[in-house]
Every structure is written in C-alpha cells, then in structure tokens.
Symmetry: C2
Subunit: 280 residues, 2 copies
C-alpha cells in the first residue's frame, strides 16, 4: 500500500523534489565554499531526470578518513567527488585505484561498485586536456611548464604527456614530492618530463598553474606571466575567482588566458560515464 | 577577489541553487525511502531563504555509529534527523541529551552546538501531542492506550503524560523494554502510567499505534480498532502510506482516524526553534 512514486514533470529540477528516494553524491574539500561541481552536476541530474543531488561537504584533513568512512556507510550515497586538499589522501580510502590514480597518487572521484567496494578515479588531467583542446590550444608537440606537483598537478602532468606534449617541465617547492612525481611519470613517458627549480617560462608555449595560489586575493603569483613569449597560453585550474590575478595579468600582456572552468566542463563527460549518469 | 554571493530571487527553492556554501542536514533511517521530512523542511528552507538542504541517508543499524561519526566531521552539516530504527542508538552518539531524551532513551534530532559538541533532542512526543490538539483531540483527562514502547512510543508516552492524560497504558511484546520505560515514566508521573499484556481498548478514549506495523501492506494490525468504544480516536504515527490499514478500518467503523503526518507537522515549529531556522 505504498504510494506510487510520481514522476517529476519534465524540466523540474529534482533538487526541488528531494525526498526519501533521492540518491546522494558529495564533494569533499577544505575549503568547500568555492566548489563549482554542484552547480554543474545538479542541473545535469535535472536535465536527465535523475533523482539525485550533489552536496558540498566541508571536511578538514584530520577528519577526512572518519568522514569518508562514514559517508561510505550511507547506502544511498553513490559517489564522492574530492577536491583540494584531499586528492592524495582520498586515493588511499578506496579499495581499488584506476591506472591514472596509481600513477598520480591522486583521486578526485570515488565510486561505489556493485559489490560494495570503492573505486578511485582521477579526472583532473583528462578534463584539463579536453578543455585545452576545446579552447583551441592543442598540447600536442608543445613545450609546457606546470607549476604545482600536488594532486591536480600530478593528474594534469600525466594527461599532458599522454596527449603528446614535446616537453613537460614541473616545478614545486616541495622537492621530494616533485622528484617522486617526475620519476613516476618518466617510467611511462621517458625523456619528455623533467623537474626544474624555476619554471623555464621564456621557453614555454603553455604555462599552467596547478597550485592553490590565486584562491585568495592577496596570494602571490604562482609565476610571472611577463616572462612568457608572445602567443603563449597561461592556464589556471582555479575556478573561483574566475579571473585570477595570474590570468588578468596574462590577458593584460596579450597572452591567452585559459580559465579554470574549462577543466571542469571537460570533466563532465568523464563523470557521466564513470557514475553511469543517464536518463532513467 | 571572491565573487559576491548573489541572493536568490524570492521564492526560488535553494535546492535548485545548491552550491559550495549550502549547509546540510541529513535524515537517517533504515529504510529511508519513506521519510517525509525532506518534503517538509526543504520547502521551509526555500520560504525562509535559507541556503540549506535536508537529504536522506540510508544507514543500516550496524553502520550507524560509523556513519554518524563521519557525518559529524562534515563541517557544513548542522544537524541530523533520526528515524526508525536508529532513535535509541542515536541518543548515545551525542555528547549531551535533553531531558526528554534522558527519559525516553531516544532521540530524533542531533544538533551541532557552538562549541562543536552534539546535543540530542526528541520531538516525536511534542509533535504528536501538538498534532492531536490541532486536530481537536485533546489528550488532557483522556484514557489513552499506546502500543509500542520503542523510540517514538517512549517520546509520545512522556509527552502525553506531560499533556495531562488521565491514564496511560502501554503495551509492547518486548516485556523488559516495556517495564523499563514504565518505570522511568513513573518516576516523573507516578500513578498514571502502567504496562499491560493486552491493550485495554474497550476502556480507551485514544489508542495510538507507535509500532512500525502498517509500513508494509501485509503487516498485521497493531491492535483491533473494533474493540474501541464509539467516538474513540485511533492515531497512527506511520506517515507512508498515509492511510494505514489500521486507520482505514477505524474510519470504516466510524472512529476518528488521526494520520501520522499530524505528528510531523506539529514538529516543524519545534525543529525550527531547535535548529535556529529563520530568515537570514
């Protein structure tokens, strides 16, 4: 005698209809105010008529394992998205890791498998490259400098090498982290990746900020765009603010400013496939 | 350089605008498909212009502590609602318990306090009594039979005694649970509460089902309404289906059928006060 479930009228955002049958996704970050994924995924759920919602979860690093273990016990929670600073730690909280996660040591999505185990995947890199290509900046054959060897930087480095960059130079103030990443990448792409103490900007076609510098208005620049040659692309992965100081200075110098949201847009197709998001 | 937050247009459901700044509430149950609280609270958030959402969380009893400990580490999660079968266990997962929770051993809401600790409260009883009074069925001076000494039954028993019932008779197949509850209640309301092996229906003005019997269409009746005197009230706390077999049979016999949703409606004011839900 349970009441039949009423299908939502076409175009109704399912978030307006959240009820006991709604499936959950959460995006974990610290901070989390800036995350853009709910604004992308929830309209996608609405368009597809999926009774699901993606909510933000502010989790501090010391609380990550407890929070993830708890969320994994929520039976109607089908997946977790992971952002700064949790991408490396989250990779270890899954039962299995995709090849990209194994190479980068970094995950930005965890999915509950049919057997109840959890699989970690990383879409930062493929999303970044898709966004770059869509914007007309082909990485194939390019000389690329990447600043930041953290979670996002690792994934972007692997994807750029996979996309055929001629030479990838990585910098990071954390030298052990930097050399460990370069060593892991060099196993798969020998002779094309190297570490540097300072970014070789005058000799780069594309320069990428994969650090958090720019999230706050008083952050220093991750690198000086005026050292780049004319026609170079300056890419940021920060999504909020949309125009970081780095990108504003790059644009003011006539360089190509490539905004962070391109990476997230490029990830949408990958997310859809990974989480099986299709119209019921 | 963070973008200023745009206020939502009046009447916009904030669930349609879920973003990184959204505050979270979750309702925990097993099953959880039937919960009505998201359908009540989310429209309230919308009316008040509060950037928050209540989502369902399906948690099995064996997973409750892990899930709650995890959810408590989610910094933008301000409270938990708790339903069957977790109300007793949830009371123990708070740092402090309200007097009603202490008496009943049962909680249906946990709130994060300003110091970061968690307070457990129970609104089942006060919500049930409010709903009864609003529907014109005054419990003051009445002879009441209550079937089910679990979490909801305990809270309703305390609230009915507090509201001045003449005599409250409790039944439950779990005799130790039943006698323990009657003993705790008798400390506060001596001489007015008793346990019984069978509900004294022929001698009752109000009979209440506080068991889960009726959630499934093939459940047996919690008690036989045809044993009640003319003019009696038959109340159910089950919200889905709205008209349980018990209430349908009571109505067919000309008795007053009091639906479960009255209890939840009566709880809304209490929830608003407890969680400080007011327009920003």
């Amino acid at each position: 005698m349970t009441e039949p479930r009423q299908p939502a009228p076409a175009g109704t955002p399912p978030q307006a209809l959240i009820g006991g049958t709604t499936r959950l996704y959460a995006v974990l970050g610290d901070p989390v105010d800036q995350v853009q994924s709910p604004g992308l995924l929830n309209p996608l759920f609405a368009r597809l008529g999926i009774d699901a919602v993606l909510v933000p979860a502010h989790v501090r690093p010391a609380d990550l394992e407890t929070a993830v273990r708890g969320l994994q016990r929520v039976g109607n929670l089908d997946g977790l998205f992971v952002t700064v600073p949790h991408k490396a730690a989250a990779a270890l909280l899954a039962d299995r890791r995709s090849p990209t996660v194994e190479i980068t040591g970094s995950a930005n999505a965890l999915r509950r498998e049919p057997d109840g185990s959890w699989l970690a995947e990383n879409f930062d890199g493929s999303g970044f490259v898709s966004g770059l290509v869509r914007a007309g900046h082909r990485p194939n054959g390019a000389r690329v400098t990447l600043v930041g060897a953290g979670g996002a930087g690792s994934a972007i480095a692997a994807a750029l090498l996979d996309a055929g960059v001629h030479r990838l130079t990585l910098t990071d103030p954390d030298t052990p982290r930097l050399t460990a990443l370069v060593d892991r990448l060099a196993v798969h792409w020998p002779g094309r990746v190297r570490a540097a103490g300072r970014p070789p900007l005058s000799d780069s076609d594309i320069a990428v900020n994969a650090t958090p510098l720019g999230l706050r208005p008083d952050d220093p620049l991750p690198f000086a765009p005026d050292a780049l040659p004319p026609g170079a692309v300056v890419a940021d992965i920060i999504m909020k603010p949309r125009a970081t100081r780095l990108l504003r200075e790059a644009a003011a110098q006539g360089l190509h400013a490539h905004h962070g949201h391109h990476m997230l847009t490029g990830q949408l197709d990958s997310y859809r496939a990974f989480f099986g998001l299709r119209a019921p």
